[in-house]
């Protein structure tokens, strides 16, 4: 069994817990006893944070809309399509016709890259996130 220190994916308290895992399955959660934020405690959401990870409803393949239906595709096809379409629209209507919504749920590193992509790759400051909530 492996123990990995992680941060709770829910509210802004940022409680820290160890995920217990075995053969690529998370089997349990153990609050970090010495973390100054939660000092060994968690709320009911944190205690159960591992359950949604193995939900059968997780997406496992890219989807592309074809003839109105979302169908599974390869990464190569999906990413190529996204890059081509965004560049096309930029060429035709200018960079301000593109917009990017960052996420209050993913990491700092990912949010940094995401806004860098919006600004450096596609040339627009149309980046925001839903945390005006």
């Amino acid at each position: 069994m492996t123990r990995t220190r992680t941060v709770c994916p829910f509210c802004g308290c940022g409680c820290s817990f160890y995920l217990l895992s075995e053969r690529d399955r998370v089997t349990g959660i153990e609050p970090s006893p010495s973390n100054p934020v939660n000092k060994g405690m968690l709320c009911v959401k944190g205690w159960n944070a591992h359950e949604f990870i193995h939900s059968p409803e997780r997406l496992t393949k890219p989807l592309i809309r074809k003839h109105g239906e979302q169908v599974e595709s390869t990464w190569d096809e999906a990413l190529k399509l996204v890059a081509d379409r965004l560049l096309d629209i930029k060429k035709q209507f200018g960079p301000r016709a593109l917009a990017f919504l960052a996420s209050a749920k993913v990491t700092n590193e990912e949010n940094y890259l995401f806004m860098k992509m919006a600004r450096a790759t596609f040339g627009t400051n149309n980046v925001d996130h839903c945390a005006r909530l």
Binding site: T2, T4, V7, P9, F10, C11, G12, C13, G14, S16, D24, V26, N35, P36, V37, N48, I53, H54, S55, R58, L59, K61, P62, R65, Q70, L79, K80, V82, A83, R85, L86, L87, I89, L98, A99, F100, L101, S103, A104, K105, V106, T107, N108, E109, E110, Y112, L113, M115, K116, M117, R119, A120, T124, N125, N126, D128, C130, A131, R132, L133
Partner: protein, 540 residues
């Protein structure tokens, strides 16, 4: 967090979660803390048990009310009036911190000017809070040695959200409850990494570390760091304006990472129209959310357990989270997807790991300069600003001076909720979260124990109102606003005052944001989730 930035020069929680153990008094407003931030809620309750005072300003009888020494139940959206009323008394009775006001602030005369217009009897009329309670509140807060003010979305989600925040800041400055441990103005952020998404420049007007895109020096710095010729020097669109631009056909493509605006945003049918009007919608997520169903391309993303990286909590603490397992099927961490996509689009990104990305963040973001993965791995996080690798981080902001030098009083006049109840739409609907669920429910609704405890949306309604309309517990009612209608079960409770109903947006079966008003604060662009006019009827 625009309101705080204008007042202090920095828009984050001024103090730390550990400070909640040491305060003598808490002023909690617009935060159902035990539901939204359970671990902070329990710290407040423990502090009260050992003798700290709790002053609550909230229209609803939330669980914390049981522990409050004084609970002001103001009419919805009258926060500015109540806070002005409290300041009026503090100035009138000379309870304010003269030394702090003189040495650390500017604009006191303007504050006096405005606040003078809000004597207790006027505020009582506007807010429904009795004069003697206002006086008690003013005395409690002003006379406490260490008073912590905490608020959440009940303060920001109004058309006057920025004014509400400024008023909180005015009150804390007036009484000198700032810049010391266990004091301060403390916005409790709702999601695990809202703070980080803002810090990293997930905003239309700033790069990482709040460096403005309209600042020529900042623009040059990022052009050099990123090796691009010319970055956009105009402020971009906020999410609210994106939706408007999409409806008008000016915005053609939207790329959504890990969000579900079709559930979380107000006036859902407008959002739906806006999204349908796009030429191209990409959604990158763990689940096929309501928004992802509409997408032209859906990219499967890894969960927090399946990747490495840092998150910044509400007290500005940056923490490292490890990778426990591999993603399911072909799902990938968001950062890998972005790197590949950017490379395909002609701008190569070759990072070997999140630690590698953090090195670039350190180099271009002064407040994060000393926050490396190496340091984080050995400890319990670092609170920004952390300007170099020797720096221990900053638990209390604005100690000897504010980020912008002097703190500025920015007094505000009271303005009512944009859409007040009238004869036809005779109830005020207010929205929020419950303990068992989180945000639009994409994660928590897939956790069985949480579903067991709270399987469906309920509409809280006062017993007197229910009686008048012949509504009993668990009756299905239809709630209608000018924008849409939703059916859900009634829960009869005195948690809500008369003529007010409450529900949450966690449940897609009862998408409450079909009803809410997208009228938003003109500066912060936060929509008014906390108040709109609705009518109610019992379904038979």
């Amino acid at each position: 967090m625009v309101g705080l930035a204008a007042t202090f020069g920095s828009g984050a929680m001024t103090n730390s979660i550990n400070d909640f153990d040491d305060a003598d008094l808490f002023l909690v407003t617009g935060s159902n803390t035990t539901a939204q931030h359970p671990l902070i809620g329990s710290r407040i309750i423990n502090a009260v048990k050992r003798g700290a005072k709790l002053l609550l300003i909230d229209p609803r009888e939330i669980p914390l009310a049981e522990f409050a020494d004084l609970h002001l139940r103001q009419n919805i959206g009258t926060d500015v009036a109540v806070l002005n009323g409290i300041m009026n008394i503090i100035i009138e009775e000379e309870l304010y911190d003269k030394e702090f006001v003189e040495t650390r602030t500017e604009g006191f005369e303007q504050l006096k000017e405005i606040v003078r217009k809000y004597p207790p009897h006027v505020v009582e009329k506007i807010s429904g809070v009795a004069s003697r309670d206002l006086k008690k509140a003013a005395n409690m807060y002003a006379k406490a040695d260490k008073a912590m003010l905490a608020y959440a979305m009940g303060i920001t989600q109004h058309t006057t959200g920025v004014d509400n925040v400024k008023s909180c800041a005015n009150l804390a400055m007036l009484t000198g409850h700032l810049g010391r441990p266990a004091t301060g103005v403390n916005p409790l952020r709702g999601q695990s990494n809202v703070q980080g998404a803002c810090d990293m420049g997930g905003l239309p007007n700033v790069y990482s570390g709040y460096q403005p895109v309209i600042d020529a020096a900042a623009k040059k710095k990022f052009e050099d760091a990123w090796g691009v010729a010319a970055l956009d020097d105009k402020v971009g669109l906020t999410i609210t304006d994106m939706m408007i631009a999409a409806q008008k056909g000016e915005l053609k493509a939207l790329f959504v990472m890990g969000e579900n605006p079709l559930m979380s945003d107000p006036d859902t049918s407008h959002i739906e129209q806006a999204l349908s009007n796009l030429d191209f919608l990409v959604v990158q997520d763990m689940f096929l959310s309501e928004t992802a169903v509409k997408a032209d391309v859906v990219l499967p993303a890894a969960s927090f357990a399946e990747k490495e990286g840092t998150y910044t909590n509400t007290e500005r603490r940056v923490q490292l989270s490890g990778k426990a397992i591999s993603p399911p099927g072909e799902a990938r961490p968001d950062w890998r997807i972005i790197c590949e996509l950017s490379t395909l689009a002609g701008y190569p990104m070759n990072y070997s790991s999140p630690a590698d990305i953090m090195k670039e963040i350190n180099a271009v973001t002064p407040s994060y300069a000393g926050i490396t993965h190496e340091r984080l791995a050995g400890g319990y996080g670092l609170q920004w600003p952390c300007p170099n690798v020797e720096h221990p981080g900053t638990p209390v902001l604005h100690k000897d001076k504010f980020s912008k030098g002097l703190g500025t009083f920015l007094p505000c006049e009271f303005k009512p909720v944009a859409e007040m109840p009238d004869e036809e739409y005779d109830f005020m609907l207010t929205t929020g979260r419950i303990y068992y669920h989180y945000h639009t429910g994409t994660m928590t609704r897939r956790i069985s124990i949480l579903e067991r405890e709270a399987p469906e949306a309920l509409l809280e309604i006062h017993p007197d109102d229910a009686k008048k309309m012949g509504i009993r517990n668990n009756d299905v009612v239809e709630v209608t606003s000018r924008r849409g209608a939703v059916r859900l079960k009634a829960e009869i409770t005195k948690r809500v005052p008369q003529s007010v109903v409450f529900s949450t947006f966690h449940f897609h079966e009862a998408p409450i944001n079909l009803l809410t008003n997208s009228a938003y604060d003109p500066v912060a662009k936060i929509p008014e989730y906390k108040g709109c006019a609705v009518k109610i009827r019992r379904c038979v």
